[in-house]
């Protein structure tokens, strides 16, 4: 069950700010979906390993050789805000 406090916590974890009305609506949705998920509890998965992909792969590596890079202009061209070669972001207090 996701209560208001839990939703607050989730919004902070997911950096998603919802209006009060949105919160109410979504809380209801999420709890309904959670109920749906409970069907999984009935399946016995004791000793069953997780499945990540249909064909097993391992040691997929690349050699340490340089490839293409963006120019500074290409990188910064996407930015909402920039200054003298940097991405400009809201003040970060460490």
């Amino acid at each position: 069950m996701i209560d208001e406090a839990e939703l607050d916590h989730l919004m902070e974890l997911a950096k998603l700010k919802l209006s009060a009305a949105e919160q109410e609506q979504i809380r209801g949705d999420l709890n309904a979906i959670l109920g749906y998920f409970s069907a999984l509890e009935q399946l016995d998965t004791e000793g069953v390993p997780e499945l990540a992909r249909p064909v097993e792969l391992e040691n997929v590596l690349r050699e340490d050789q340089p490839g293409p890079m963006f120019s500074q202009e290409e990188a910064l061209g996407l930015a909402a805000a920039r200054e003298q070669g940097f991405f400009k972001v809201p003040r970060v207090v460490e």
Binding site: K15, E58, D64, P66, V92
Partner: protein, 483 residues
């Protein structure tokens, strides 16, 4: 009488690896001092649709490092996503390793004490934020984002701030020797966070605090000393230590609160779906083990066995460049290693420091240093002469050639020396008389000096001494025979 409190210290160290490209993309890694945001690609920027691909060299360097630390390596290593939002982290998750790191249960020996290494794992680095004073903005440079890092976590086995600092020195030298990392804090290639708690001996572990943003080994020591004092005072006054994370203000010499325990992050780790696991197999490990160079401890033992003084053996083993130079010189030199060490750590080091260059960048060749020392050993030139020649040898000059070119080879042949002796005896009749008559045997030293001066300092001292003594003895004997 207050109980003595002991410090319990653990370290979390990040080392930036010496690779040509970043951890998960082929973006070049040699961004140091380049224009900001000029070393990026889709993954570095966290663009929609970008995907990671593991850098083989980064994995192999981690395995190499793990081997040198005696870590358990074999098995399955998996990358995980560590989810958190921060502007310097373009994807807002770091690709790291959670419960299946590359290496576990290693150790590093600190002159008699063993510090256990809990784990080493690989992860990608974040970008760099700078905060211009007085402005409501921060500036972000992503050149560093995506660089490969090894994170090393120790058990809380360190017992003092000085020991912590020492550990970092040893770790740095190991990383440098192996070629795993340049490991210099000044370039941000080695960073350490520390955790500290105090307890009475034998008591259970106390509450620990974490200190971050330590930019030098000295800061590590100072910050630990500071917090130790703070905690000591707290505990003595009956106050409980609260779990917290601090930063270190080097200029002010104090810690400042970053977060208290209540704000601990939930990273929501899950296996990185974009990256299949790594199978660290025995054959792979053995192939990499063959790349292990001689470790500092083995090097130190070898120098000691060669008769090098203890303090100097320790120092040399910590410096990959100096020891590699020394080893090549030793290979070209028949005499005792200590002689070369004296040169290397004495006049050579002095000259290097004065000209501000490192041994690796110097034109001085190990074979030439060996030759110079050998010339002195064989008596062909004096020690004084060798010192005079050193500057040119350090510029790359071959001592044999220099000596030949200037005819500096100490004069040893009998004819030349005899001529000089005869000429001096004729000039210095009074001095000669004193020796021959036996009234002042010590005058031979003055005579010696005169002959030496006559040869322009080129006479080989021992030879000259022998010839001069022999001549004067014969003259004295002749006198005794005459009635």
């Amino acid at each position: 009488m207050p109980e003595p409190l002991e410090a319990v210290i653990g370290l979390e160290v990040h080392l930036q690896l010496r690779t040509r490209t970043k951890m998960f993309s082929a973006c070049r890694a040699d961004y140091f001092s380049a224009e900001p945001n000029s070393f990026t690609d889709p993954l570095t920027l966290g663009l929609p649709g970008a995907l990671p691909v593991i850098n083989r060299q980064a994995v192999e360097l981690a395995i190499l490092f793990g081997l040198a630390l005696g870590c358990q390596l074999e098995g399955r290593a998996q990358f995980h996503r560590k989810n958190y939002f921060y502007p310097d982290s373009p994807k807002n998750y770091q690709i790291s390793q959670y419960d299946s790191p590359i290496g576990r249960s290693g150790h590093l020996d600190l002159g008699g004490r063993t510090v256990r290494v809990r784990r080493i794992h690989l992860e990608d680095d974040a970008g760099k934020l700078i905060h211009p004073p007085g402005e409501p903005v921060s500036l972000l440079d992503l050149n560093r984002a995506g660089m490969p890092l090894i994170e090393l976590v120790t058990e809380p086995d360190l017992t003092s701030p000085l020991e912590a600092r020492d550990f970092l020195y040893q770790l740095r030298s190991l990383a440098q020797t192996l070629g795993v990392s340049d490991a210099n804090p000044e370039e941000g290639k080695m960073r350490a966070d520390v955790n500290l708690s105090l307890r009475a001996p034998g008591a259970p572990l106390g509450t620990k605090v974490e200190i971050k943003n330590l930019n030098s080994f000295r800061s590590v020591q100072r910050a630990l000393e500071y917090q130790t004092e703070v905690q000591r005072r707290q505990l003595r006054s009956g106050e409980a230590v609260r779990q917290a994370t601090f930063g270190w203000d080097e200029a002010a010499g104090r810690t400042y609160l970053l977060r208290s325990k209540e704000q601990e992050a939930d990273y929501r780790y899950f296996p990185e779906p974009d990256l299949p696991p790594l199978a660290i197999t025995k054959p792979w490990i053995e192939k990499i083990r063959a790349r292990l160079p001689e470790l500092p401890s083995a090097k130190e033992a070898r120098y000691l066995a060669l008769g090098v003084r203890a303090a100097e053996a320790a120092l040399l083993s910590q410096s990959p460049d100096l020891s590699s130079f020394l080893d090549r010189a030793i290979a070209a030199y028949p005499g005792p290693a200590q002689t070369l060490v004296n040169w290397l750590l004495g006049d050579v080091a002095g000259t290097l420091t004065a000209s501000g260059i490192e041994i690796a960048a110097s034109p001085l060749r190990p074979e030439h240093l060996a030759a110079l020392a050998a010339l002195v050993d064989r008596g062909e030139i004096s020690g004084k002469m060798a010192k005079e020649l050193l500057p040119e040898v350090m510029e790359g000059g071959d001592p044999q050639e220099l000596v030949a070119a200037r005819g500096l080879r100490a004069v040893r042949d009998e004819t030349t020396l005899t001529e000089a002796i005869e000429a001096t005896l004729r000039e210095q009749r009074e001095l000669a008389e004193r020796v021959i008559s036996g009234s002042n045997p010590k005058a031979i030293h003055a005579l010696f000096g005169q002959v030496m001066r006559r040869t322009g300092g080129a006479a080989q001292p021992e030879r000259l001494r022998d010839l001069l003594r022999a001549r004067l003895e014969r003259l004295a004997a002749e006198r005794a025979e005459r009635p």
